[in-house]
Symmetry: C2
Subunit: 207 residues, 2 copies
């Protein structure tokens, strides 16, 4: 019986799942045709049909990471400072799923930094993400919730804050449980707004 | 003629240099006995004398990274907020040498996250670094340069900010030249102090 388009799509989904599981367990450092084949219960020969070279596998994995990140659920957020806060929380490893995806993002930095084309792709991804944050910051400034000033600088700083917090939380989940991460975001957002949180950690920004 | 202790030390230095050059060019993802041997102009056989397994090479590279980071020159800094600012600037890729070392740190995150023992080592390194920042923050609070509050939270936030800025600057050096990085640190420190920078980027914190 001839293979159908459905077979092909279904096999492609299986391959994606296998690539994702290898990334989640071992990062890009452990992403090999052999590891994906083992996860899939297939031969490396079958895999070379999809990925003639290691570089094809890495490019596929990066695309997969971007698609799954783009498709992830986001917090409902109003406008202004609440939207800035929600965008930062959406980046953080606050759930098991977000932790897995972030672990793969951080892992991708090594492979991307070693390759100018991949590095450029990552730079563009982060620039787009800063642009979105910048729009939210500018809106919060218009609403008077943030002091006037360079919104691009605030967005770059906020993105840096979130990415660095991702790294800290991945290495030290005990020191950075979800509630602590959220508290640090609230402190950061409050400082931006010009109202540092009171001693004792009073929640300045509403949930 | 028997090998002397001096020969041994000199060879060890050569090996360290070769490991460093491989890391700077290819990250931990490209760190293999074969690559180090090629860089050293030696056989992989010689290298297995130093590193019986790949894991030994990775552990050695991480130690080397830590030693070189600990030995790097630091900014002279007074007390209080100026010391917090100097500590953050000391982390950033503001020179070619600091860029190389940071690129290796970021690369190490993939290999460390894939191994619980290495991950624990990294968590302890970052916790020590936060503790030092926390002391500086507490001193700035005593001096009245930062509002009262949880110094550990401020230190964790500041470390996150610096690490995330490292990542951004490595991927997009055009968008984050040294002057822009310093400006963002100044904006961050000013926001912590409760005095967001004026529109136009007036320098609130003295250099």
């Amino acid at each position: 019986m001839p293979r159908t388009k459905g077979d092909h799509e279904s096999r492609r989904r299986d391959v994606s799942e296998a690539v994702w599981r290898v990334l989640a367990a071992q990062g890009f450092g452990g992403l090999t045709l052999r590891a994906v084949a083992a996860e899939l219960g297939a031969t490396t020969g079958l895999l070379t049909h999809y990925f003639p070279a290691k570089r094809d596998l890495v490019a596929y994995a990066l695309d997969l990471l971007e698609q799954r990140s783009a498709a992830r659920p986001r917090r409902a957020a109003g406008a202004g400072l609440a939207a800035v806060r929600a965008a930062l929380l959406d980046i953080l490893p606050l759930t098991a799923e977000a932790t897995g995806a972030n672990r793969i993002w951080v892992s991708s930095w090594d492979v991307a930094l070693a390759d100018p084309a991949l590095s450029g792709d990552h730079a563009r991804r982060y620039a787009r993400s800063r642009d979105k944050l910048c729009d939210l910051v500018a809106e919060a400034q218009r609403l008077g919730e943030l002091p006037a000033g360079d919104p691009a600088g605030v967005a770059a700083g906020a993105q840096a804050f979130a990415l660095g917090l991702v790294v800290q939380a991945l290495f030290d989940p005990t020191a950075f449980p979800p509630a602590r991460q959220a508290e640090l975001v609230d402190g950061y957002v409050a400082a931006l707004a010009g109202s540092p949180p009171a001693p004792g950690g009073e929640r300045v920004v509403p949930s």
